[in-house]
């Protein structure tokens, strides 16, 4: 366990955190402003990944794949909102959970019909392959650094939009008091569609960036979605700042835990015991963290209401 290894894992954690943030930002806004539990958010992530792969295979161009992934997910998201989610505004959360659960089953199976159940292979263009030398002397994949950079740029853009533009002001107002915003005569329908589209696009972006790193297969969305829930619960519903803080915390804790908990444990208990307990504890770490945060702040770190 060297310092360069720790730093490397820290970078991995930040990069994973950034992915979580992309998913969490959209979801927390949808939850906060539209009071809509959308379990199918993970499906949008999956759609982004698959469309990107399809685009690349069809045209041979990475850029085309990215464009298709991003724009395609935006379109799918808006169609989803129009057809399946509009009837759910104002209905209780149980109904929303059940309907979006049904959507997940539908999307997962649709993807399986179109592309099969196995993992898809995604290739990277030459300029994204390869490694970069860190100041610690070890090598780190270029692609992961790019992902990290993209995520930070998006975070900055979001910060700008939310704090400096009129749209952002509406979003913040909607997150704290949606009835008031409607009463002020703002076109709520349009605001909802825009917010939802935002979220869908971000999820698609996360998905298409995830392709080369994680397995592209049906059901991939739900694996990350539940961690995104943990992020939002820790950060507070409706708060983008909370989503960022929560995402970084969860990403770093999860990654470092998986990498170092077993060796750390092995220094205090026997190696075979650490072998069994390490991964088990590591997988539970972020949920325990969530439980701790909740017992102190039941509405998350940055409560918007």
């Amino acid at each position: 366990m060297t310092w360069s290894l720790v730093f490397e894992q820290l970078l991995n954690g930040l990069q994973y955190g950034v992915m979580l943030f992309l998913m969490a930002a959209g979801l927390t806004l949808v939850l906060g402003i539209m009071n809509l539990v959308n379990l199918a958010h993970g499906s949008l992530y999956m759609v982004g990944a698959y469309l990107a792969v399809a685009g690349m295979e069809a045209t041979g161009s990475y850029a085309a794949g990215v464009a298709l992934g991003f724009a395609g997910t935006l379109v799918v998201g808006m169609v989803m909102e129009l057809l399946a989610l509009r009837p759910l505004y104002g209905r209780d959360h149980l109904d929303q959970v059940l309907v979006t659960f049904g959507l997940i089953l539908f999307f997962n199976e649709l993807i399986a019909i179109l592309w099969g159940r196995g993992s898809l292979y995604t290739s990277l263009p030459a300029w994204l392959q390869g490694y970069v030398e860190l100041f610690t002397g070890s090598r780190y994949p270029v692609y992961r650094l790019v992902v990290l950079a993209v995520g930070l740029v998006v975070a900055l853009l979001l910060w700008y939009v939310v704090t400096r533009t009129r749209l952002g002001m509406l979003i913040r107002a909607g997150a704290t008091n949606r009835t008031m915003v409607a009463a002020l005569g703002i076109n709520i329908r349009l605001l909802y569609t825009v917010v939802f589209g935002f979220g869908a696009a971000l999820a698609g972006l996360a998905g298409l960036m995830a392709g080369p790193m994680y397995a592209v297969q049906p059901g991939m969305g739900e694996l990350i979605l539940i961690q995104v829930f943990v992020v939002i619960v820790i950060g507070g519903i409706g708060s983008i700042r909370g989503a960022l803080v929560g995402a970084v915390i969860v990403g770093v804790v999860d990654t470092l835990g998986r990498a170092f908990l077993r060796p750390l444990l092995a220094t205090v208990i026997s190696a075979p015991a650490a072998e069994a307990a390490g991964p088990a504890l590591a997988s539970m770490l972020i949920y325990l963290l969530m439980a701790v945060v909740l017992s102190v702040k039941p509405a998350g770190l940055f409560q918007s209401r």
Partner: protein
């Protein structure tokens, strides 16, 4: 005889008559199928207590199904195969887990509660996957089915079927008594109007937590039964998909009704069987069907029977 009592008499007789009929028709498959439906009906009944009557949208209830099954499986690995020991441990472990999870979760409400219960269930799921010694992702076969000092052979499909039938009817009856007792009234009142309940002196937290623990324990029993039914345990039992299925059974059958969970479980599993017969991609049909049923068919099947 009241309408309700007549309904249950018919149900009991019909279900009791199934094994001999299926045997005579040479279709033992149905004994297995209906047995599975009854076991999941127990799980759905337990969820109905907190969801239908208590208004607590717990999206992680399948965790107790998994935990109960693993309790049986793990004890079996260490040589404890007697059901007299395994099943109380399964129930007790689930009660404890529900107490721990509930203690944290029930302080929250609304969207938070849904996400948190889901997250904790997923935690147990990942825990199951990471335990390589018990099969990890693939799960493992039971060393042997639970034994009951020779009184009952769970390997005999028909005896096991009747045990499940009996336990299902007991679970439904116990839930019925709880729901109409003083405790049940507080639970239902808190769901109906929390501000009013607080104003007359009920502290919602303690009643909800108790209901949560009872529901978890009952589901643990279903888990133990399930492990014996499939003779196999897998982390998938605790997955969110399973939790969602349980919720659908409760809704389809009719929330806050006695027969609802059983009807919902039967309906959902029958629908699955039929769809599976048509195509391997049956979920692409089931998904939208569930969506439509929620949007249009809120009162559930029990509304038809007024049960």
């Amino acid at each position: 005889m009241t309408r309700g009592a007549l309904f249950w008499l018919v149900v009991a007789i019909a279900l009791a008559a199934l094994p001999p009929i299926a045997g005579a028709l040479g279709q033992p498959f149905y004994i297995d199928l209906v047995r599975r439906m009854m076991i999941l009906a127990i799980a759905a009944t337990s969820l109905n207590l907190i969801l239908g009557y208590g208004g607590m949208v717990s999206f992680g209830h399948a965790a107790y199904l998994g935990l109960g099954a693993y309790a049986v499986g793990i004890l079996g690995v260490y040589g404890v195969t007697s059901g007299w020991a395994q099943w109380p441990v399964a129930i007790g472990a689930c009660a404890l887990a529900a107490a721990a999870i509930g203690a944290v979760s029930i302080r929250t409400s609304g969207i938070y509660f849904i996400m948190i219960t889901l997250a904790f269930a997923q935690m147990l799921y990942y825990l199951g996957i990471s335990l390589e010694v018990f099969g990890g992702d693939d799960g493992m076969r039971l060393k042997s089915r639970s034994t009951f000092s020779g009184l009952l052979d769970l390997g005999n499909a028909v005896s096991f079927y009747y045990l499940c039938l009996a336990l299902m009817l007991v679970a439904i009856y116990v839930t019925y008594r709880i729901v109409n007792s003083r405790f049940g009234m507080v639970l239902r009142a808190t769901k109906s109007n929390e501000a009013r309940s607080r104003a007359i002196g009920f502290s919602p937290y303690r009643y909800r937590l108790t209901a949560f623990v009872i529901a978890g324990a009952m589901c643990g029993l279903a888990g133990a039964l399930y492990a014996n039914h499939t003779n196999y345990i897998t982390p998938g039992l605790a997955s969110w998909v399973q939790s969602g299925d349980l919720m659908f059974m409760v809704i389809l059958g009719g929330m806050a009704s006695t027969a609802g969970p059983m009807l919902g479980a039967f309906a959902l599993l029958i629908a699955e069987e039929i769809l599976k017969g048509w195509t391997e991609h049956w979920q692409v049909i089931l998904g939208p069907l569930l969506v439509l049923s929620v949007i249009f068919f809120k009162r559930g099947l029990a509304g038809i029977f007024h049960a």
